[in-house]
Amino acid sequence: MDALVAQHLLNWLVLGSIYTLVALGFSLLFGVLDVIHFSHGDVSMAAPFVALAVIQAVTVTLVPDGGTATLILAILAATLVVGLFGVLVDWLVIRRFRAAPAMMALVATVALGTVVRELIRTLYPQGSNPKPFPALTTEVLRLGEVAVPVFSLIVIFVSVATVAALFWLLNRTPVGLRIRAVAEDRAVARLMAIRPDRIFAITFFIASAIGAVGAVFFASHAGVVRFDFGVQLGLIGFSAAVIGGLGSMQGAILGSLLIAGVDTTVQMTIPDGASYRLVFIFALVILVLVLKPSGVLGKPVFEKV
């Protein structure tokens, strides 16, 4: 295989994995709460900042040069913190719009995204400036002519494992069964002794924690993070979920791979493609929505008898 093509495939899988981790949250939250959580990208993007703060705290107080162990600890802490942050977002804001028209929750979450971004900017020291974000590893494996960064393998592996864990949780565990029940019929779920608010909190934790992992990978991939990176990542993740079919987990994965495919192809084949990538990505989004408004794997909503 051509080394360039192999490199291209690898990039595609890495970006597709990162987008998937964000898109899953959009789809999961829409499927369970019927809400488009537009600030999901911004909430997720809080994770690299939490991780940086943890690294800072650890290196200042405990070990001056923690290395990879510190970074892994920081990422785990950021995942947990952002997961809880998602629960807080639901409790503080989204909960107020449970019975409101979908448009109101949408506008509220758009506003919330700005609040989160600006909070990061003001609370984080010199928050307006881009922050260098450490690479998990800079090791590169040589497979013939193909250079395979170990980081890429980690991203792909962790993403696949996360998706597998999510599917297992949703389809094979009691809490997953309850999440699916609430997604289908909140009122009847209550008759089955399920408290929807608890399920919503759990769902928010899962979606935000998975998004946090995606955002950390995004920052690590870019080598840098800025307070407003969540806008683009959120838009791409949301678009991926929409063109795949909002509410469908498989759709979120498919949509992410589609968008990542366009992304890497444009960057590789078009001169100065990196500047145009968003044009092509969002043209694809429009095209899919024109051709199949419910998304590639979107199903018509089940008719109630």
Binding site: P174, L177, A181, E184, A187, L191, I194, K304, V305
Partner: protein, 233 residues
Amino acid sequence: MLEMERVNTSYGTVPMLREVSLRVGEGEMVCLLGPNGAGKSTTFNAICGLLRAESGQVRIAGRDVRDCGTEALASLGVGFVPEGRRLFPTLTVRENLRLAFDAARAPALEFAAQIEKMAQLFPRIRERLDQRSGTMSGGEQAMVALARALIGEPRLVVMDEPSLGLSPKLIDEYFQIVARIRDQGKAVLLIEQNAETALSIAERGYLLVRGRIALQGASADLLRDDTIRHMYL
């Protein structure tokens, strides 16, 4: 087992139920009749706490529904058949039953044994356990919905128009099963439009007209009542 006492509810500013009182004793089968829009489903929602009564009280097994909440009713020994069945369509039959079984929180019961019991009552359920409930026929869904209400061995079953949309043959079959539930000594509140069938298996009945209890009495008397005959028979 179930007592509604002078319950008032409204939808926005439109009053729905006015001073509705009814009771279902231990092991008693009672029907609530009424034309479309009389407030039958509102009564169901008030009983299970999905709709808050503005005044009055709903007590189940001596507990005020408003205090204990919808989520606690299953563990108080109540099974529900909501209007239109309302199964979780993408969940399998087994998963639908599992949720109801867990909700009852009855440590003495075993899920596998209860499934077996339901399969004896509704033989068609047995080979459909792993089918998504939304892909079943209306009649089969009605049976699963009833099994879901029964699997936790409730002391009271509340059914909201369970026969709606079933063929006459299936309705007969359905009510034969309901009569067996009654004979097992469970209390049943059957909310129905189909007055003749309901009164033929219930001991007592109430007639709801425009949000008020217009009539109540023993089934035999109601069957002879002119209002009921005029409205239904």
